[in-house]
Symmetry: C2
Subunit: 693 residues, 2 copies
């Protein structure tokens, strides 16, 4: 058995399970794993360990881990604190393949817990045991049944089998999702609570599920991101395998981020960067909690689509209007029926006016419903179809749903939305493999993700930095100032405003002749942090003479204000004008790595928070997408009669700047060009900074 | 009995009901009203009318309306087209108090239907009969039971009684809401499908429900608005009676508006103006369909609150984090527990760190849960409290829910959110009167509406237009130009840039001396629509001499371009500068009446659609709220180190401009000031237009 298969089997399909600290007291949480394993039909061997008991629930109990006979696939440690650490060490020595730890109180509980968690890390490193948790409420498979969990939610009588694999950073929400899915006929293949992710993390576990034949979609409930690279790889492999990866992540608000942090002991990261991560690697992020179980059905085995035209037929005009309203708000277009369908419906007494095909008046006869959907799906003028069912779904599930079932696995995306509470219809559709929705909001979210959602983008290749770039980087080794920063940007290939540094005021006029008037003049001094406030900046100087005068005045003024400052001369920079001011930001995010942000410059853009963020690097095509996402850049994309800016040059500059993602720039934690002026025939960077660590 | 009580009784609690066109064929829709009436226990008398039958379902049938004996409270006309019209006429002659018409095919079906609908209008006018529909699928009361409906959704075995009254412009969504509410233990008092609203409209029906002791909240499903004034009155009376009015309205997207229009044959109106309508009159508008049944519980009998601080306790950290995340995105603040609670929990082994009170570790003992909520509700540092329940709600409904029930009717808003699917717990909480939610999204929406939602605003009094205003209005009788438009604004009290009209170029210099340099110069001619394009505008003229030269040049240029144009001279206007440019728009909306919109001027604000809309008139306090809503006006409210603009003067100008809502200006359909410059000590209007009809 390969290492991979062995890990997967020990984790999800163990044959021999040890329960360290098992209890025979049904009121205690530590009694649950044994009870739940049996209740849901675990056919392997359970080995409870409890020094005070000879047997637990009729099964022989062992005094200590070291006494356990034979190979143990998976040990669930139900002890707390130091006892849990000792148990993990014993499991490691004993050659147990995978252990899970139930208890919290580690990195999730401040400094003392964190040092205890460090001990776990050390044991994993020393012994090679693989660890789930701590703070893991368990790992469950439905087929073969392995309910290795202390989660009260598994007190249900019957565990529904299914094809969704759930990986959750919240233990308690596994129960919520299990019950919500069950209520509408959806089951899971695997459910795992990853806890603090000391060893096994979301990414590696998701990666295991990509190769799991029982799992057709991978669902993530996330509070943070601890192994982005591995998750990225898993997402790409999942996409290639036709298995959608769907994520709900906490922390869209500031307080939500704060909570996620305090709840997990981890950094939450910014929401925009997580979005960028999902977009790059093809993870469908949902905004409604229940969408996590609703949405995957529409994405399974679905080749990426770029069309956004949806056709809608219905037996409830009002219900369909709600779905349409939500879809339009999600960015989809609604298209009417093909003429062939209009002609087919006419003799049946159904007039198609407008974009909705409303079959209400036909009494929704099954052959009319299926004939309508067939013709919609055959129409090249749409990219997907939706059927919205009214009361009949509630009262005549078989009758209302039967004509829809044959469209399971349709080539084109097809979904059914139900307006009433109609659990039986939902279950029938779900069982047949027809994506079905009970909320107009999640139906629209699913269709938007299906048609417009992310597909993995190729990671742009990063060219090795040139000698010039390396030299510019080396020049900033001791810290970058404005000159060295813009020099680095220029070396990367971003056009920068022509400038020249001169050692004293006498050479300013010559510098103006060199860079071309009008110019901006700035004093150079490492000792002056705020040049403008110190009177060390003059703008719009029309010629060499006035610039020279300004330089002498500036010298006097600055010397008077800061007598101790060492002056290094002046920077003479050509004054540039642009049709728009753009800010480019580069940042190494603690969770997702290098990111690049493009925003409109100026106060208004800051107020409107109008910016696009991506993982860096980006190629020019992706840079163009970013430009299109920044609403305020409409002004240079061709708006009314405003002059167009050189969008292609802007895209080139963004892509060039994003090369800071290369490991050669590892010391650069942040960089910013502000402003980058977009002109009608190019772009030019005027100012910027580089922060190193 | 008063006319009101008589109408209410005939509509919702009729004793003798005629079914015109009743059928004994169970497969036919027209058989349903009789079957549903009986099924749900109608105790009055049913009088079927059908010329071809002696009896229907065991009840004597009558040949014609004219043969019906005694008084008829409510006749449900189940015939189509002309037959329905004839039946209504017969009912009217016969003295039937209220009739409903099931059939569509009237204004909802184009021109032919519209003329048929006109006949209905005429009959109502002539006979005084009150009409529901046409296109009404029925009117239902649950207690006493009167299921006078052809809606298949009422095939349910048992109709749950309850306190929500539902008025719907969509017939089919009544069924959807009925089933969704029932699934979570909520019942309705009345449900009515208003159809095309020829006579009885949403507003009047809602107004009747305000006085209905069985109805504690009024729910509206809307596609359009046909009697805004009446609905406004109903909303205000409902608010005064402690009965929340909650609305879901289609048409948030353009295509949604189009559908609403084609579906109802009515104008949809803009979404922003409907929001303005709701805000003015205190209607809580929900964005999630299911919120329509979820949200009212939290708003019933709830005095308006302006605090927005919510305290959260939970037995599921992840679930509570979701609720918190959604609440924060809805604009609410989350506040931590009072010290007293922290101290109380400590000896119980529960450490409160951060803002969430997480009781998971306590095993959620009932006395700890109720003790916690009690202390949160007693804390002055919050305005509301939420308890988020995990798996226990699913498995131990009684145990998990019992400690929450005593907080029904708490003085402060208190809500429960359930993370698993836990219908029994929902029903228990609902039955006890504790607002409970099954979606974090609708829980957040409800709490935001409860704390931040609209309360009816007093309608500002409109002063009678002064003689000066009347004169300015009269001056535009034949159509307004720039001069007469700004003169009207000035008369209303909006400061306008100083200007002077002169008949020829020779008098321009003198005018400059009068208004003050620098000036803008514009040619005056009713024959030139686009002055700038015709070369008829010059800006920034520094003195009288240059202005005079510019005037002569302009004359030549314009004459060359448009030799036939009659020139009326020049407008000399003082050039003004501002810290921000604002656009003020006034419009008579076809649905809600006069509205006023404040937006930031310039291309960017247009791109960001950054504007606030209200019903006009507004007083200065409401104008200030509008200013605060326009994000881009942050620049003049005090942003970073930008100079502050005269926000009070802007509010005065908005309020003065909104006086166009006075009936004296009925001829003014639209007016715009663009730009209105905000300065540091005042505002000044530079240009504008007035459109009359």
């Amino acid at each position: 058995m390969s290492v991979f298969a062995s890990l997967f089997a020990s984790l999800f399909e163990p044959k021999r399970v040890a329960l360290i600290g098992a209890s025979s007291d049904e009121r205690r949480t530590t009694s649950r794993p044994q009870r739940f394993l049996r209740k849901h039909g675990f056919t392997g061997e359970i080995l409870p360990v409890n020094p005070g008991r000879a047997e637990i629930f009729g099964v022989k109990a062992w005094k200590a881990i070291d006494e356990l006979p034979g190979e143990i696939d998976h040990a669930y440690i139900l002890l707390n604190g130091k006892d849990a650490v000792a148990a993990l060490a014993a499991c490691g020595r004993r050659g147990v393949k995978v252990a899970s730890i139930l208890a919290g109180g580690f990195a999730d509980a401040g400094a003392a817990g964190a040092s205890l968690q460090d001990e776990l890390v050390e044991i994993v490193k020393q012994t090679g045991i693989r660890l789930v948790g701590p703070n893991s409420i368990g790992t469950v498979s439905t087929e073969p049944p392995v309910a290795l969990t202390a989660n009260a939610a598994f007190a249900v009588d019957k565990l529904r089998t299914g094809n969704w694999g759930l990986v959750s950073q919240s233990g308690s929400l596994i129960g919520a999702l299990l019950s919500r899915a069950d209520a509408r006929g959806i089951g899971f293949s695997r459910l795992i609570s990853v806890g603090n992710e000391v060893d096994l993390k979301v990414g590696e576990i998701a990666d295991l599920l990509v190769d799991d034949p029982k799992t057709k979609a991978i669902l993530l409930f996330m509070e943070t991101l601890r192994d982005g690279e591995r998750l990225a790889r898993a997402a790409r492999r999942a996409h290639a395998a036709g298995k959608p990866m769907v994520a709900y992540k906490l922390g869209r608000s500031d307080i939500g981020q704060e909570l996620a942090k305090s709840h997990t002991g981890a950094i939450a990261g910014s929401d925009a960067t997580f979005d960028a991560f999902c977009r790059r690697h093809g993870i469908a992020r949902v905004s409604m909690f229940e969408s996590l179980v609703d949405v995957p059905a529409l994405l399974v085995d679905r080749p990426p689509s770029r069309g956004k035209r949806v056709a809608v037929a219905t037996t409830t005009g009002g219900g369909a209007a709600m779905v349409v309203d939500n879809m339009a708000m999600a960015g989809l277009d609604i298209v009417g029926p093909p003429q062939e369908l209009v002609d087919w419906l006419k003799p049946l007494g159904i007039a198609c006016e407008g974009k909705l095909v409303d079959l209400t008046l036909a009494g929704a006869k099954p052959e009319i419903v299926s004939g309508t959907i067939e013709r919609l799906l055959a129409d090249d003028a749409n990219d997907a179809a939706i059927f919205v069912v009214g009361s009949s779904a509630q009262f005549n599930p078989e009758l209302a749903i039967e004509p829809l079932l044959r469209f399971a696995g349709s080539k084109k995306p097809f979904a059914v939305a139900l307006t009433p509470a109609a659990e039986k219809s939902l279950a029938l559709l779900t069982a047949a493999g027809v994506p079905a929705f009970r909320h107009p909001e999640s139906c629209a979210e699913a269709m938007a993700l299906c048609l417009l959602g992310p597909t993995p983008q190729p990671e742009p290749k990063l060219a090795e930095p040139s000698a010039a770039v390396r030299a510019a980087l080396a020049a900033g080794r001791a810290g970058f100032d404005e000159r060295t920063a813009t020099a680095l940007f220029a070396a990367l290939g971003v056009p920068v405003a022509k400038s020249m540094a001169v050692p004293d005021a006498r050479r300013v006029a010559a510098a103006v002749a060199e860079v071309g008037a009008p110019v901006a003049l700035k004093i150079l001094s490492a000792d002056i942090a705020h040049k403008t406030e110190a009177g060390g900046v003059a703008l719009g100087l029309p010629d060499g003479q006035s610039a020279a005068v300004a330089a002498r005045d500036m010298e006097k003024r600055v010397t008077a204000q800061a007598p101790a400052a060492k002056l290094d001369g002046f920077l003479v920079q050509k004054m540039e004008r642009g049709l728009a001011e753009v800010i480019l930001g580069f940042r190494r995010d603690p969770l997702v790595g290098p990111t690049i942000t493009v925003g409109l410059g100026g106060v208004l853009a800051e107020i409107y928070k109008d910016a696009a963020t991506r993982l860096a690097p980006v190629d020019e095509a992706e840079a163009l997408q970013m430009i299109n996402e920044v609403k305020g850049l409409a002004t240079i994309r061709g708006y009314r009669n405003l002059p167009k800016g050189d969008v292609a040059a802007l895209a080139r500059a963004i892509s060039a700047f994003s090369a800071l993602a290369h490991p050669a720039f590892a010391a650069v934690s942040e960089a910013e060009i502000n402003p980058l002026l977009v002109q009608n025939d190019g772009v030019v960077a005027v100012d910027g900074l580089v922060v190193t660590r």
